[in-house]
């Protein structure tokens, strides 16, 4: 009896399609990844179980390991108002050109008195060489002035929006008095609600919050 012969097939597979898929995925991942916004300085934030997403137009107060304070005015629309107000109330004598230049800096990290001299420099010195905004000394807490100008600039608008925008980002090893100084500056300006930037952390199983979340899902 003759057996039916199986036709021999080539084991070569056309890899073109596979290659297309691989590179398509690669380009998708590269393009879909959002670049980290520029940071004044590297900061290791604490973790929390909070799941709220931070605003990308945040007024970000960064506290570094050394206890220095840097400010990023993330909202382009209001930045000029804030700087103009500060210029007026603190008598900084900045020209409109200088204010525009200050607005273009990635972050503000010098005492008010040094703003003019720093702007005159051809290049902004690196963050480690800047003094930071003085805060810890309660008689000279310049964040009070900054927050006053910020509240003035946002006055009349939605207060809740401002509350969501103010984000404090501190390094893990920042000492408590530094953080207290920021809270003091906020309270002085009647800002009682604000946010703290944290890395998200998973809720441990068995804890009250875990059980509550689970009950909600069902």
């Amino acid at each position: 009896m003759g057996r039916a012969k199986l036709p021999r097939k080539s084991t070569n597979i056309d890899m073109t399609a596979m290659c297309d898929v691989a590179f398509l995925l690669l380009s998708f991942f590269i393009m879909a990844t959002k670049q980290k916004p520029p940071e004044a300085v590297a900061v290791q934030t604490p973790t929390s179980v909070s799941a709220k997403v931070a605003s990308d137009k945040a007024i970000l107060v960064t506290l570094t390991k050394e206890g220095k304070c840097f400010l990023i005015l993330g909202d382009d629309a209001k930045r000029k108002d804030v700087l103009n107000d500060l210029n007026k109330t603190k008598g900084l004598n900045l020209s409109p050109d200088e204010i525009a230049k200050l607005g273009k800096l990635p972050f503000i990290g010098v005492p008010l008195g040094q703003i003019k001299s720093v702007l005159a420099l051809p290049e902004l010195p690196p963050a480690e060489k800047l003094a930071g905004i003085p805060i810890v000394d309660s008689t000279n807490n310049e964040m009070v002035d900054w927050f006053r100008s910020i509240t003035n600039a946002y006055a009349g608008g939605d207060q809740k929006e401002l509350e969501e925008r103010i984000v404090i980002k501190g390094d893990n090893s920042v000492k408590y008095p530094t953080f207290k100084a920021i809270k003091y500056a906020l309270k002085k300006n009647d800002l009682f609600k604000f946010r703290i930037a944290t890395n998200s952390e998973t809720v441990e199983a068995g804890t009250e919050l875990y059980n509550e979340n689970k009950a909600k899902q069902q």
């Binding site: 056309d14 890899m15 073109t16 596979m18 290659c19 691989a22 590179f23 995925l25 690669l26 991942f29 590269i30 990844t33 980290k36 934030t45 604490p46 973790t47 929390s48 179980v49 909070s50 799941a51 709220k52 997403v53 931070a54 605003s55 506290l63 984000v167 404090i168 501190g170 390094d171 893990n172 090893s173 920042v174 000492k175 408590y176 008095p177 530094t178 953080f179 207290k180 809270k183 906020l186 309270k187 009682f192 609600k193 604000f194 946010r195 703290i196 930037a197 944290t198 890395n199 998200s200 952390e201 809720v203 441990e204 804890t207 009250e208 919050l209 509550e212």
Partner: protein, 182 residues
Amino acid sequence: MAEMDTSSGGGHKKGPGVKKGKKMSTRVDLTPMVDLGFLLITFFVFTTTMSQPTAMNMNEPKDDPDQQLKVKNSGAMTILLGKNDQVYYYMGELNPETASQQFKSSNFKDIRQVILDKKKATPIGDLMYIIKSDKDATFKNAIDILDEMTINTVPPGHYAEVDMAPSEEQLVTMTEQANGIK
């Protein structure tokens, strides 16, 4: 699969002595290219840190001396944050005579159970956690303890951050010295 006809069959015959140019296949093996593609994908996936920055809400009380909140002694628990991630706590009011028995040391791991026990043992209306950080506590400690409140579902308004009294500061320093914490 589409394949190109690369055979020279059917072509006209060349004269004798004219060598036939050997036609090479135009097919390229794409396997290494695929390998490379997926290697790059894996590389990007692994090196990308998924850092969705999150934010925690903070509500500060108004500093109004007329509206000092009166807290029941039975429902109050004071948590003190010291240096080197140390946590101390006591229940109710600190009595100078029995301070050494009231004042207890703990850490961030064990404090969760203490908070929970207190929450279970106290009627919700009387419950109040008072958090005090000393000057050697870190920002991380302050956030961690607030986070602990969220984890234990202590309702907002039942915990507050308060400045540390000098007597408590002394106790913390003494305990730290006794325990050899630097």
